[in-house]
Point group: C2
Chain length 211, copies 2
DNA sequence: CCGCCGCTCCCCCTTAAGATAGAGACTGCC
DNA sequence: GGCAGTCTCTATCTTAAGGGGGAGCGGCGG
């Protein structure tokens, strides 16, 4: 023996479903060239696990308790700008994809991906090669052609999505109803919607808001 | 040998995520008293698998391609009214829960449940004992206190959620705008909302609509 | 048979929403 | 300094939405 001493790819899994973690762990640990070194069940744990183990790859679900995926990506890249993060989620709204990739996540794929694709994505990311499935890449490109909403508009949009009236929104944000209307108008224009309800539908589809 | 000849609990898994199926399969097959006999990746396959294998327990995700979980429950119970179905999903809108349980699913739990709970739920259902986690049961009870929407109201609600105006809804359903308004009014009353946008938010939270 | 319910249509009225067209104040960037 | 973008506010006007009624008609079960 004493043959090849090639270190295996170390992986940290972050997902709030034990079932999914088990599935991924089983898949990964079956491979001769990779192993799971830690698992996290929420955003804070994910960050802590990353710091403690400094894995080659962090596999991350976007929707988690305590701190959502985008925030985790941001924080981990602060800790280590060279961190290799693979997003793996069920959600395919183009906003989430765009946010993660533009912040520096190395890969993004959907949970309905077949086993082989998941494994090759982990390998790719571990070698610092970007991996994004074609459908996901297409969405990211779509998103780039669309106008971005300002922070204030996102605040207003969130309240619109909760069913608040312009007057109510104005009160909560300490602005006048007229200003609230101005923001709503801008939102409608940018989302290409003709009513606030349609705007909510569009925004949800794009992942701008999570109801 | 020749000791006890107790047949193991046969399980069919239906979930559109290979990762989740792997996780469940690994968990189940590690138990001495149960085994996975087949897996399905969409609603149609789930029905076919059930018919072919007649498992003791069918573990079913609600959100699947081709045919959604509620429809699968309905169909499987037509095939075998004594079928033992365990719903396992991420969604906790009370409408889905209510629909499945009132149609005859034996158990309902969320994917973020710990391993032990999942396994004991499978065992319970296999013995024809209902299993529903406390949080889920609470939702089902909540739902019972709420007024139901008529089919027509659900049709209108769907269009409202897509951002259609009353006039547009009327055109699509071949009714007058006044009638559309009447339905919308009824929806607002039943959902205890003051605007259509709030109604959409409430309906989505309850699982009445899936955006 | 009658009453309940769901679906349809109608009225009037008030308020909210959206469209249009400005303008001042602040930021950061070139 | 000037320019761009954002956030704020103003005003007016038209249309859509929502509140409160009433009412006819068909099916279904007591």
């Amino acid at each position: 023996m004493a043959a090849v001493v090639k270190t295996r790819i170390s992986v940290v899994l972050a997902d709030d479903h034990p079932v999914v973690r088990d599935g991924l762990a089983a898949m990964v640990n079956q491979q001769p060239d990779m192993e799971v070194v830690a698992e996290a069940g929420d955003g804070d744990e994910a960050i802590a696990c990353y710091e403690r183990h400094r894995p080659d790859v962090l596999v991350l679900d976007l929707r988690m308790p305590k701190r959502d995926g985008v925030a985790v990506v941001q924080r981990v890249l602060e800790i280590n700008p060279k961190a290799r993060i693979l997003i793996m989620t069920t959600y395919d709204g183009d906003e989430d994809i765009f946010q993660c990739l533009s912040q520096g996540a190395k890969g993004y794929l959907l949970k309905d991906a077949p086993r082989q694709e998941i494994l090759s994505a982990i390998r790719a990311v571990s070698e610092d090669r970007p991996y994004t499935s074609t459908t996901v890449a297409a969405k990211a490109l779509q998103r780039m052609a669309k106008p971005s909403l300002t922070q204030r508009e996102l605040d207003v949009l969130q309240l619109v999505a909760e069913g608040r009236s312009n007057k109510d929104i104005a009160r909560r944000l300490s602005i006048t109803e007229g200003t609230a209307k101005t923001h709503v108008k801008a939102i409608l224009t940018k989302l290409d919607a003709i009513s606030r309800t349609e705007a909510v539908a569009v925004a949800h589809k794009r992942g701008l808001i999570h109801l």
